[in-house]
């Protein structure tokens, strides 16, 4: 699947929230998704770069995209 073709089903825009809340909310949300559904998480807590992708993998989800080119980071995760 090419990057620009990924269309998320849901978005969790956590801008302004400090860690660990973006990662905690992301995991809570993923729990309620159906298999195959895609969640996009927006976070401007830079430290989330070390926790959201790792947590997603630890819980068996697939990390489709991480865009950390700017201060606001985008994560795209599939259940």
């Amino acid at each position: 699947m090419k990057k620009d073709e990924i269309v998320p089903d849901y978005r969790l825009d956590m801008q302004g929230e400090p860690c660990p809340y973006p990662a905690v909310n992301a995991l809570e949300t993923m729990k309620d998704l159906k298999k195959g559904e895609i969640l996009e998480i927006i976070s401007d807590c830079p430290q989330s770069i070390n926790n959201i992708p790792a947590d997603a993998k630890n819980h068996g989800y697939e990390v489709l995209e991480v865009d950390s080119s700017g201060p606001t980071i985008k994560y795209v995760i599939r259940k």
Binding site: I6, V7, P8, D9, Y10, R11, L12, D13, M14, Q15, G16, E17, P18, C19, P20, Y21, A23, V24, N25, L27, T29, K31, E40, I42, D44, C45, P46, Q47, I49, N50, N51, A54, D55, N58, H59, G60, D67, S68, S69, G70, P71, T72, K74, V76
Partner: protein, 398 residues
């Protein structure tokens, strides 16, 4: 040209991998001790700043016992800890500006503001009661063979656990709602701003390198100059790799992730042998009282850093990234450490100064102490694995 562009992208703009960075910090901190004679620490200097502020308001500090221990001589430009912190800030600024990671992030609610301030005060108080933060009583304290650091660390893990439970109570949870969407969110970048930030970061970084070179070669203050260089490396590494000591134990309890905690133990294992070699060559170790102060301080500190979202070392790089939350945490830390200095003379005898300073290398002999420290590090590593497994079993099988 291509070479420069690739270098810039891979080493200056992108985040660094956190695990090698923590291990590198362990190695660097051992050399820092060998060259400057002190360990990598930040809260002591913040405490002195609080003291200078009190002096500016006309308070006479000569009767305050804590400031006598802290040695208030000179100022930020003449103390090793002071110039190291200047270097650290420069490294943090360079990392944030090179990486296009600067944005004014305002707190989303007043709850977060109080969390930052109160957490910062509790952490600042606890750190100074325990004679150090995640650095001097943990990451750089354990490799000094000071038993107080072990007491502080175990108490801190308990505090972090309590803090994580408390910070995830419904009252504190994020009110942000999930949205159903049909397209990806476009993130805008302003190329000109990115370039300007990059230049600014470079100017700050080069300026501090020149300053350090001036201190070493012109002024002849070699230790100050080297401390500044080390500081810039510490700052660059913690900010580029987003090293967060707070998250190390917290996230085992919040999401079951332990990679940072494990990396820190490996970093300390590397630092231990380096520091050991300098101590056996005659460098005096930094040993603190192994009293109830280390335990009470550790619990308070662990609770405070999790409530605040960052510790004394972490708020530095987050503050320069424009995270207003961590400006408040920083202010809280200085208030907390000053409060501790205020009550110190009433508490110190019972809680700290009447207790022995336990140096593992003296109590168990050089090699006995060395092996004991490694044994304790192995036990800490196993504790991390057990805690992680406990969380993941609970979470995934739910």
């Amino acid at each position: 040209m291509n070479f420069w562009q690739n270098f810039k992208r891979d080493f200056l703009v992108k985040f660094w991998a956190p695990i090698p960075a923590v291990i590198a910090l362990g190695i660097l901190s051992a050399y820092y001790f060998g060259i400057t004679g002190t360990y990598w620490a930040v809260t002591g200097e913040f405490t002195r700043w609080g003291g200078h502020i009190l002096e500016a308001f006309g308070v006479d500090l000569s009767t305050w016992g804590y400031y006598k221990i802290m040695n208030m001589d000179g100022n930020i430009f003449t103390r090793i800890d002071g110039v190291m912190i200047i270097g650290m800030f420069a490294g943090c600024i360079a990392a944030a500006f090179w990486g296009n990671n600067v944005k004014l992030r305002m707190p989303v609610s007043s709850t977060r503001v109080y969390q930052a301030l109160i957490g910062g005060i509790i952490a600042g108080f606890g750190a100074r009661l325990g004679m150090g933060c995640n650095l001097a009583s943990f990451f750089t304290g354990i490799p000094q063979f000071s038993f107080h650091a072990w007491m502080f660390t175990l108490a801190m893990i308990l505090g972090v656990y309590l803090g994580a439970k408390f910070s995830l109570l419904p009252f504190f949870q994020s009110k942000i709602k999930l949205k159903k969407v049909s397209c990806s969110k476009e993130l805008h970048t302003d190329k000109k701003r990115v370039n300007n930030l990059f230049k600014l970061g470079s100017i700050v970084f080069i300026a501090v390198l020149l300053w350090a070179v001036y201190l070493i070669f012109v002024q002849g203050s070699t230790k100050l100059g080297m401390a500044m260089l080390f500081g810039s490396a510490f700052g660059l590494a913690i900010a580029k790799a987003q090293i967060c000591f707070t998250s190390a134990f917290r996230d085992i309890f919040t999401t079951g992730r332990s990679q940072m905690a494990k990396a820190i133990v490996i970093g300390m294992a590397v630092a231990t042998i380096g520091v050991f070699s300098y101590i056996t060559m005659g460098q005096p170790a930094k040993i603190m009282w192994a009293g109830p102060n280390a335990i009470i301080g550790g619990v308070l500190f662990g609770f405070g850093i999790v409530l605040a979202g960052g510790c004394e070392c972490g708020w530095m790089y987050r503050a320069v990234e424009g995270q207003v939350h961590f400006w408040i945490v920083g202010i809280g830390n200085v208030i907390g450490s000053t409060l501790l200095a205020f009550v110190w003379d009433d508490l110190s005898l019972q809680l700290a100064t009447s207790w022995p300073k336990i140096n593992l290398l003296e109590s168990f002999g050089n090699y006995g102490g060395l092996f004991l420290n490694y044994g304790l590090l192995v036990l800490l590593f196993i504790l991390i694995l057990v805690l992680e497994k406990r969380y993941l079993n609970k979470s995934i099988n739910r």
